[in-house]
Amino acid sequence: MPVSVKHSQLIYDALKACDVQLVSALPETWLVHLIHMAEDDPEMTLVRLAKEEEGVGISAGAHLAGVKSAMLMQNHGFLASINGIVSLAHLYHIPLLMLISYRGEFGERDPWQTQGGMSTEPLLRSLGIPYDRLDDPTHVASRIAKAQTLAESSLSPVALLLGRDLMWED
């Protein structure tokens, strides 16, 4: 499977450097290594979800309880989480660090991913969620750290879009 182990490790190390202690996740192809890294790390609490919106509640609980968390999801998982983002994270000013695998962009071969790809950024913008892209490995650590800093200072959800060039090795 040509998902980049090296770049997944970069992302995981950046989360650890930000003191993330809890990760919620729903498996998707690009996230497999990240999920295994969380699973194999005795210091990380990995919560495997049935549906991504649960992760909004879990991260909200963790935040109020004093634990930093991150959410790993596909962009369709982001779509499935929107009510929770609006009616919990936005309503109650809860920081969320959302790492979203950006399927359906240029280069996508799976027809079923294409519609979600076209809706992802317009929805992030319409929800007023600050976001940035992760495409270049040299940007990973600083962008994740800065995203978390803004989430914590603004008490708001932020998103990082994990791009094909970073996650996939053709």
Partner: protein
């Protein structure tokens, strides 16, 4: 059984726990009994109270956590039962007040009115202790048993579809949120 009587019966115990409630009647009635800084009322995001309780319970295993849920809410997030069961935090009690209706929006019947059994679903999901109770004595007994068990429990309490005349309280959402967070932080500092 009236939900407010059930909450009144366990109120002295709730004062010792971290409590997350759903919106509507549960929130308004618990506040009418008496707000505490360790009570958080999730005034929207139906279905996510159980997820929030899980997030708190996993983050702070030393704290007893109680989620006061409802049939309409948990039916929106049935997957949460499987996630609770998967991690089965020992410090979490999940109470579901089942009035078989969406009371806050006009009393339309939920699927529990036509036979869906939330306690059975919780048991099938793998939650170790589950029960259905329909009277105050059985409710308080099951809550005390769950507190003593030190194991994840789901208690489904059948209650009448009656609630307070208004759901709006004088506690702003954000005041509740920051007070609750500060309280949990102070518990860590003093614990």
């Amino acid at each position: 059984m009236l939900r407010i009587d059930a909450m009144r019966a366990i109120y002295p115990d709730l004062e010792q726990c971290v409590v997350v409630t759903i919106m509507g009647a549960v929130s308004a009635e618990l506040q009418s009994i008496g707000h505490r800084p360790n009570f958080f009322y999730l005034q929207h995001a139906m279905g996510l109270a159980s997820s929030m309780g899980l997030g708190i319970a996993l983050s702070r295993p030393e704290l007893p956590v109680v989620v006061l849920d409802g049939d309409g809410s948990i039916l929106m997030n049935l997957g949460s039962l499987t996630t609770l069961a998967r991690y089965r935090p020992k410090n979490l009690i999940h109470v579901v007040f089942d009035n078989e209706s969406l009371l806050s929006v006009g009393g339309f019947p939920t699927a529990t009115s036509t036979g869906s059994d939330i306690a059975e679903m919780a048991a099938s999901a793998g939650i170790p202790n589950t029960c259905n109770v329909d009277n105050l004595g059985a409710f308080t007994d099951s809550f005390a048993t769950a507190r003593a068990a030190g194991e994840l429990s789901t208690i489904v309490a059948k209650v009448e579809a009656k609630g307070p005349p208004v759901f709006l309280t004088d506690l702003p959402l954000l005041e509740n949120r920051f007070q609750f967070q500060r309280h949990l932080r102070n518990l860590r500092a003093t614990g």
